[in-house]
């Protein structure tokens, strides 16, 4: 079984992002970038399925600029076998990424695609669902457990108020939630090995997909900040404030 794992290069989750002074976007120059954490979990899951003998090949794919090669090398160092960069410098929105991934999936014929449930930059939470729809495949989003049983996939999903288990026909799309696994750290020998693994670059134009943005992001702003209130002296003071000032109890 081949597994395709889409990965995205995003601002590192430790970075406190700032809006540009002209409000046209988020300041990205000189900012540390990293693989989207949910995609890292997806790579880990795919590599574990390969180590368990369930998967035969793990292919990492990224859509974006040449800098995304770095993100793909991270996936290769974690254990992906090869990588594909669908290269463009243009802005890509989730619908366009879904269409590009469909084109890649049609070439590669994976039985399973594991995506992150969302990227931590745009927080869209859309790409996996869009890809599944375009392929006409089943989808299991927000996965916390994935088991392959022959031609079916058993996935436990995190839903509001608890968990849900689904059985899906393969091929299918899974999106990873936080608790699916804890990704490994790439070791130095594996980082070195990853440099020699195949990384194909496909120009966006070769896939014949209309990737023009459909949405316009007209203005970025920082949300109103909450002001710190007061420190109360003791419990009696707190109860009095809640009853008499805030009137919430």
């Amino acid at each position: 079984m081949k597994i395709l794992v889409p990965v995205k290069r995003v601002v590192d989750y430790n970075v406190k992002v700032r809006v540009k002074s002209d409000r046209s976007g988020v300041e990205l120059s000189g900012v540390k970038m990293a693989i989207n954490p949910f995609d890292e979990i997806s790579v880990e899951e795919a590599v574990r399925l390969k180590e368990a003998g369930t998967a035969t090949e793990v292919i990492a794919v990224s859509c974006g600029s040449a800098a995304s090669q770095e993100t793909l090398r991270t996936a290769l160092a974690m254990g992906a076998d090869r990588a594909i960069l669908v290269e463009t410098d243009a802005e890509l929105q989730p619908l366009a990424v879904g269409k590009l991934l469909k084109a890649v999936a049609e070439r590669e014929q994976p039985q399973l695609v594991i995506c992150g449930k969302q990227a931590i930059d745009d927080d869209a939470n859309q790409t996996g669902q869009i890809l599944a729809a375009l392929m006409g495949w089943g989808q299991a989003t927000f996965a916390s457990k994935v088991v392959v049983e022959g031609e079916t996939l058993r996935v436990t999903r995190e839903i509001d108020g608890g968990l849900e288990t689904l059985e899906l026909k393969l091929p299918a799309v899974v999106t990873s939630d936080l608790r699916l696994n804890e990704p490994r750290y790439a070791t130095l020998p594996n980082i070195m090995k990853a440099k020699k693994k195949p990384l194909d670059v496909i120009p966006v134009a070769d896939l014949g997909v209309d990737v023009a943005p459909r949405l316009r992001h007209t203005q970025y702003s920082e949300p109103p900040t909450r002001k710190a209130g007061i420190k109360v002296a003791d419990v009696a003071d707190l109860i009095a404030k809640l009853k008499n000032d805030a009137k919430v109890i």
Binding site: L134, G161, E167, A228, K231
Partner: protein
């Protein structure tokens, strides 16, 4: 313009998030219909029909909608949009809505917009990105607007309507997924996402036993829902559906009591829109105090029992 709200339900009752989605749909100032797709779902359809501001309920029943598999729902909704000329489709920004809306949008070849917190008109929205640290204004000219809405940002529709329920023939059964089972945590307490008061605990509690021993009496006294920080969930004190934060539930109650929670950005993103925030922590420099209206520096194992006693004496 015609708006279709996708109801989230269990065939008997409509989920709270759907009431907020109906509230959001009314911002368009257009006709709002609600889709209730299920099996033997008349009770849920009737509840939707009784919501103020709902012009009609589309009821679809088939065995393969009983558990509402997303693949079948998406095909059904895309068909309804094409046949009946809906120009907007809304769902609550819950795990149900987030799973479904992008799939519908892809079938219609339109770009969906997630987690909308403000609707200024057709195709003019505001949504949070970067874990709520940045807000972005989005414009869309798509012929069908497909949105999920953040439930805490829109008032829930109230009862008081009397719309007609019309039965529509079912769509295709793709039969690509099957529900094996659901484990929904049962609780006598209010639902976390919609509770008026939330008591939340962090790693300061030290263990799951202490979490329950200290916080349950307080939640009982206040009639509050119980929540937790990601640190407390990861440490195994409580199940993950207790988690408040960017990757958990987004809440905005009248009163949020953070106990032994330091206030990581990820947690603040999930509760900073609460009306009144109380923080109780022994570390006076904990970041949670920067957003709290009332901060109490002290040992939670002493102050929370005092608070429970004090509340009892006053009531």
């Amino acid at each position: 313009m015609k708006v279709l709200v996708i109801a989230e339900h269990d065939n008997t009752k409509i989920a709270g998030a759907t009431l907020n989605a109906v509230g959001a749909a009314q911002q368009f100032g257009a006709e709002v219909q609600v889709l209730v797709a299920g099996c033997d779902s008349a009770a849920a359809a009737n509840e939707a029909a009784a919501l103020a501001g709902v012009a009609g309920v589309v009821s679809v029943n088939a065995p393969y909608y009983r558990d509402q598999p997303v693949e079948n729902l998406a095909v059904l909704v895309a068909g309804l949009v094409r046949n009946e000329g809906f120009t907007a489709v809304l769902a609550g920004g819950t795990s149900f809505g987030k799973n479904l809306a992008p799939r519908i949008a892809a079938l219609l070849d339109v770009a969906p917009v997630s987690d909308v917190v403000s609707i200024a008109g057709v195709g003019r929205y505001v949504r949070p990105i970067y874990a709520g640290n940045v807000m972005v204004s989005v414009e869309s000219d798509e012929p069908v607007q497909v949105l999920t809405v953040r439930t805490t940002a829109f008032a829930a529709a109230s009862a008081g309507g009397a719309a007609a329920v019309r039965e529509v023939v079912a769509g295709e059964d793709l039969a690509v997924s099957r529900l094996v089972g659901r484990e929904i945590s049962k609780s006598e307490r209010p639902e976390l996402a919609t509770a008026r008061i939330v008591v939340s605990g962090g790693r300061g509690l030290g263990s799951g036993d202490k979490y329950r021993e200290v916080l349950e009496p307080l939640a009982d006294r206040l009639g509050a829902a119980l929540g937790a920080s990601r640190a407390a969930v990861d440490a195994g004190y409580v199940p993950n559906d207790y988690q408040v934060g960017q990757t958990g539930k987004i809440v905005a109650p009248d009163l949020y009591v953070a106990v032994g929670i330091s206030g990581a950005i990820q947690h603040l993103a999930g509760m900073k829109d609460s009306k009144v925030i109380v923080a109780i922590n022994k570390d006076p420099d904990a970041p949670i105090f920067q957003v709290a209206d009332f901060g109490l520096v002290g040992d939670l194992f002493e102050t929370i029992p005092q608070l429970v006693d004090g509340l009892g004496a006053n009531q």
